[in-house]
């Protein structure tokens, strides 16, 4: 029935001529413009104050002289290490759960409860995951303060984000794709593996990249599960403590005894962290754009 009407974009354009309305909408735009300018100023300020400190040496050397000099190499490695461990947990579990919810789950109340719980998990504060990590990994499993315990805690936290995107990208694949394989005698799993997952892959990748971007910047879940103030070495096994970029920023900004002296290093660390986060976000954004462009079946 909607097909006989002009697309909404068209009459929206027609109605841009009404002058009093335009004044009203212009007023509504003010907070949005201020917000975007604020974000721009924040990024500019951090870069302006941090970029001079960043050098090859800064990225590849450990901190020196009580963190007032040197670099942030152990923090970069620690953050990448802990993120990798979280992915080793959250990607398979998230992928399998997403496939179940999209392809297998019967439409009943148990599935409803599962979906609601997973969605609710996405809204649980990260510090609560930190507490849970202490109770489960440090105390119940006796893993000890380590990259592993922190990685698993972060993995639990990112699980709901990954499941949601996996389910959404699989549900977006039309049924005819599955039916084609099933008609040729494929089993359900074969049809999913060959005719669904390859086409859902860019969407799933987007979700994983966004999860990485958010995991990299999280501090609260690792606070009591393994991150440490200072260690000269990079962790050699997943059972050692580690330094991390976000915690390093926190320490330099609030805990250090020469706050003003280490401030440039704090800004530089923040810039490195922001580049990581925004980098993954932007790759995710372009993956999603490409996905939308190549998915010709989506009308």
């Amino acid at each position: 029935m909607n097909r006989t009407l002009p697309p909404p974009e068209n009459y929206r354009r027609l109605n841009k001529k009404h002058f009093p309305s335009n004044i009203g909408f212009a007023i509504l735009a003010i907070p949005l413009i201020i917000f975007i300018l604020f974000i721009g100023f924040m990024v500019f300020y951090l870069f302006k104050n941090g970029i001079n400190v960043i050098s090859w040496k800064f990225l590849t050397q450990p901190p020196e002289k009580g963190m007032t000099a040197g670099g942030i190499f152990p923090c970069i490695i620690g953050t990448l290490y802990v993120t990798l461990i979280s992915l080793l947990f959250s990607v398979p579990v998230g992928l399998f759960s997403g496939i179940y919810l999209a392809e297998y789950a019967p439409n009943n109340s148990i599935t409803q409860v599962m979906r609601s719980s997973i969605r609710a998990l996405a809204g649980i504060p990260s510090i609560v995951y930190g507490l849970f990590g202490v109770a489960l990994f440090i105390r119940a499993f006796q893993i000890g303060l380590s990259v592993l315990a922190s990685g698993l805690t972060l993995g639990l936290m990112s699980l709901p984000w990954i499941i949601t995107t996996v389910e959404e990208s699989i549900t977006a694949i039309p049924n005819s794709f599955r039916e084609g394989a099933l008609a040729l005698g494929a089993t359900k799993w074969e049809s999913i593996r060959r005719n669904v997952l390859p086409y859902a892959f860019p969407g799933i990748l987007t979700g994983v990249l966004l999860a990485i971007a958010r995991t990299v910047g999280e501090t609260a879940p690792i606070l009591f599960t393994g991150v440490t103030y200072f260690t000269r070495q990079i962790p050699r096994s997943p059972l050692e403590k580690f330094m991390a970029l976000p915690y390093h920023i926190f320490v330099l900004a609030t805990q250090h005894d020469q706050l003003t002296k280490v401030r440039p290093i704090a800004f530089a660390t923040a810039v490195v962290l922001l580049i990581f986060v925004l980098g993954f976000d932007i790759i995710a954004f372009f993956t999603r754009m490409r996905f939308a462009a190549t998915n010709k079946w989506q009308v």
Partner: protein, 308 residues
């Protein structure tokens, strides 16, 4: 042939088990926080009942106590009220700033922006939602707090007001995105009906589209609330963190989340203090869970109201 059937069956079972595990995390968190938190209220075996340090808390004393001071020698106090008020006040002040601004922004995006400008604006807003909270906290600490101290002539800018502004900024992306989605799912027929009656675009947006999307927008407010009340690191860096009931907008404030961040690393394992922090975590968990469940049912209600 047999093997393929077996693999198929195995795959199905694997997926089911993983999904049950993932959904079970929620119940795991609930169970662990509760079983740890509850131990602050029961006497631990083998401790001297006369020792004030190991005396269990009472539920009423915890829920309605107005002093939080676990380190006081001989007479530690574990009262939830100052921390709960800290969380509630920062969040509510933040929302009074961010809700009107966020809804205004959402109406503008939904009604006026199209094409690449729209994609660009939404991208910036969503990118900001993913900014690490320590980075925002650093900015608040170095730029915003001194600015507020200077503007209001205070000795320190680390207070309730600064924390609220930081939280307002951090909850804006959630409020804008969710409200904008809520406005977008209002069917075109509503707009067409309003135009057919001669309503201007402004009247249509404010009197027709906005009320139609009200439950979705309420959900946006709830999710913004959940985002703000659960925020830890940024608040920790700008709130001043004195565990007192604030008497003015410029008093330092301590929230539930920041108390966990400050104290969990310093307590002796298995002490009353240690378990009382899990009790705090449990309170936070219940608030966040309730907020999210309400928001989810509101979003479902809006979608349902448009499908006849």
């Amino acid at each position: 042939m047999r093997l393929r059937k077996k693999i198929d069956r195995f795959a199905g079972i694997t997926f089911f088990v993983n999904a049950v595990l993932a959904a079970g995390v929620l119940f795991g968190i609930l169970l662990f926080l509760f079983s740890y938190g509850v131990r602050a209220f029961i006497p631990a075996p083998g401790t001297d009942p006369g020792d004030p340090e190991s005396r269990p808390l009472t539920i009423l004393g915890f829920l309605f106590g107005t002093v939080w001071n676990p380190d006081a020698y001989g007479k530690p106090h574990y009262g939830l009220i100052p921390l709960f008020l800290g969380s509630l006040l920062t969040t509510l002040i933040a929302l009074t700033i961010s809700v009107p601004l966020g809804i205004a922004g959402a109406i503008f995006i939904a009604e006026r922006l199209t094409g690449w400008v729209r994609i660009g604006v939404k991208m910036v807003v969503e990118l900001f939602a993913g900014f690490p909270s320590v980075v925002i906290g650093l900015f608040g600490l170095v730029v915003l707090a001194p600015l507020i101290a200077r503007t209001f002539n205070l000795s320190s800018g680390l207070n309730l007001f600064t924390a609220s502004i930081i939280l307002a900024v951090m909850s804006l992306p959630t409020i804008i995105s969710v409200s904008e989605d809520a406005l977008r799912v209002v069917p075109h027929s509503y707009r067409e009906a309003a135009y057919a009656l001669g309503a201007s675009p402004w009247t249509t947006a404010i009197k027709v589209i906005l009320p139609a999307a009200r439950s979705g927008i309420l959900a946006a407010v709830m999710l913004g609330f959940g985002r703000a009340i659960g925020e830890t690191m940024a608040v920790l860096m700008v709130a001043g963190n004195a565990p007192i009931i604030p008497r003015s907008l410029f008093d330092p404030v301590r929230t539930i989340t920041t108390t966990l961040a400050i104290e969990l690393g310093e307590t002796a394992a298995n002490s009353i203090h240690f378990f009382s922090l899990f009790a705090l975590g449990f309170v936070l968990f219940v608030i966040a869970l309730a907020t999210n469940l309400i928001a989810e049912s509101l979003i479902r209600r809006e979608k349902r109201s448009f499908t006849l």
